[in-house]
Symmetry: D2
Subunit: 247 residues, 4 copies
């Protein structure tokens, strides 16, 4: 059965700035969905202005992996939708958090940290080095690849130490950044991927598209493992007559 990827975008810059619209005429979501479609995924898109931001229970139930791009309008994402996304991740949905979505509500809720970082817009060279060549998200990537014009993100990046660190970036201006970070959360898998900026053609770059496709494949949960929580009878023979409870 095909993997269904829902590509979410706040879709603000593209409608307000001609330069962004020129780069991404169908929106950043359109560019990402096209690339993932070409890679063999079933894709659909959703944006901030859609009812429930396009992320109803029904849509998320049918989503294997959600990709999230946001920047100017993090605060406009409704609390209950952000919580719903988080819950679906804990229940097994994959989540790809892209570039400036480091400050998005779902990511911050799932990480538990500020997710802050250093930044600078100077169209500088970024070089992403593979720091875990055994990881499937690095599959088919050389020992590094370059983004010729990038916004700089620098350490300290306030996230939990990743369960696996797949990419580490070098920036022309002198900084480094943990650019490809994998997390397991509940039954779900989360991948933060740094490249991607509204005023540079990053999502049209082949290596970036290749990593996004690898990450969608990695983040797709099949059946998952059964999870049981709550009050629980003993499996072994056990005297359960203790009555000191104050519950």
């Amino acid at each position: 059965m095909a993997t269904t990827v829902t590509v979410w975008n706040e879709y603000v810059h593209e409608r307000e700035h001609e330069a962004v619209a020129d780069l991404y005429p169908d929106g950043i979501h359109g560019a990402i969905a096209d690339a993932l479609g070409d890679a063999g995924f079933e894709t659909q898109t959703a944006t901030l202005d859609d009812e429930e931001h396009g992320l109803t229970e029904e849509v998320l139930d049918e989503t294997d992996v959600l990709t999230w791009w946001g920047h100017a309008a993090h605060d406009e994402v409704e609390e209950h939708v952000a919580e719903r996304v988080k819950q679906h991740v804990l229940d097994g949905m994959g989540l790809l958090v892209l570039h400036s979505a480091h400050l998005s509500k779902p990511f911050r809720k799932l990480m538990g940290t500020s997710c802050g970082l250093k930044w600078r817009e100077a169209a500088e060279t970024e070089r992403l080095w593979v720091t875990n060549p055994a990881h499937p998200i690095a599959d088919g990537i050389d020992d590094y690849f370059e983004v010729p014009e990038a916004e700089m993100y620098g350490e300290h990046f306030d996230v939990p130490e990743p369960d696996s660190l797949v990419f580490t970036s070098w920036f022309e201006g002198g900084e480094v950044f943990r650019s490809g970070c994998c997390y397991h959360r509940g039954q779900g898998r989360v991948f933060y991927f740094r490249p991607g900026h509204e005023t540079y053609p990053v999502y049209h770059q082949e290596e970036v598209q290749h990593v996004l496709a690898n990450a969608c494949e990695w983040a797709t949960q099949e059946d998952g493992s059964g999870v049981v929580r709550g009050n629980h009878d003993p499996i072994e023979d056990l005297d359960t007559s203790d009555d000191r409870t104050v519950h």
Copy 2:
């Protein structure tokens, strides 16, 4: 300079149930503060009924490590106080999360997961095995120790994979649990420690007190590392004339 530990307790069961008061006549916080005081820490206590729950900016500024016990009244902890605690952890304060505080607001905020688990009250045997004997929190502990009467907590425990797993519990009724979990979050250190229950004398047990003291020592940040975030000029020579920004 002495380490200052602030011992927080919701302090509900002890005032409502004679059996609990008999076990902990000075409250669970009193028992923990006594033990940590004997181990050489400066201690102070704070409870739910105190103004701002006893956790003002001033108190937290002077706190090296905060220990947290709660069970019946998680929802009564005010949102802004829980956020303040979280922020102080990210800024370098240590946090020990004890037993049923797995569902406390500060811990859930910092973990980003549901923190749910299996549970059962049957006064059964728990055996805590050291799974990382190189970790300072296990210092002076044999290869295992027992809690003769314990509430069972079982997997799946919905927390991020710990940065280090110091203890793993065996339960008489058939379950296992990751009972001693270390996390780095921002500049702070967090330790979840499972043992401790209102109707069993767990906090009077020598090994439990020993682990708490080890954990306070581990969680104490000295100067910390300098953290800089936000917009940042390049360190290297760099042409910063790019004006395509939509910021």
Copy 3:
């Protein structure tokens, strides 16, 4: 292209003890290869008595995942073959290390620790709890499964903290064990899986076979990431005229 799994077995107990031969008439390797073949993998077997233990460069070049079972004859594995296996793992071959192979030469070389543990043969109940339900190796497994008759392995298990801990075992006699441990090493993936004993029918059990199949799928590297090491010219403009070298 189909995944090729090479199933290695020292194949000693089955030829020396009728009770073992009755359980595993085609050898432990035969039972495992049958199960993996039924799950859709291309399989081949190799044993200690084969020339080069059946693990020539040619065989390993064609192997996506190697499974290893040994117990009585670890020392009879030739050093250069153990090194060859290790090198192929670092170059991207998957490795499944089964039960008593915790003391095998390839695993000890790859872990760098003693890989020692506690043990007891008493045909006791083992219950494997899923501690990472987001991991693909747990896919399709309930929150736990039981091995009715197991040799006990207990902590402290002297291995590096796993990159992911998928299963944790409970034993009837009172111990716990980290039973499903994932490691990335070089470009390869290693999974240690505890169940499996020569005198109990563990490899005929459905859940065990299911986990082995999941693990083979997880451990299969596709193209891998390009790895470059050694002396390296600068990518950026750099004055390389420094001549203070003593190389």
Copy 4:
């Protein structure tokens, strides 16, 4: 009780090259021992030419932390001494592995990987960024520090993913490197620290000395946790009459 640090150096370059001797008139070991002595540690030194390389059982028994510098003579370290060092680490001794000691026998044995990397000698700028500001090894360090003249080491660095990644380096020529890597192995703690080169005055730099002192403190095991391995009677009541063993 004071922490005893044994500073080991192959001590080859300093005796063969005047330029190195000028930088390190008492040897690299002398410079490191002086710095650690100033920081309050008891220090002693040992070199390749000493009997048993100065690392007898007696010396290692009294050593809390061993620091290791080697480059030209890794192969001259006797196998049994390298094994002895490894065993002492597994038994609780701390180990600091410095710069070109990434290819030393004790480190390669403990990591289980090739420990290879990219390198270049061009006296270029290195900038070490703190990627875990919560870790005690980063205590008192700003968000980064620079080594003005450094040999470049670049990814992929073939080591296991560190238990904590404290520093990540930026190099002028375009590469990044995981420069401060913590590992728990057995009961011991290992820290790999990249800076330090025979033809540059790196070990006279204040920040480098500060990190070395922090790392010695971190790596010092006090009592340690009791470790028991081998055949083991059940703790719980258990029928141990099973006689199907082939042991």
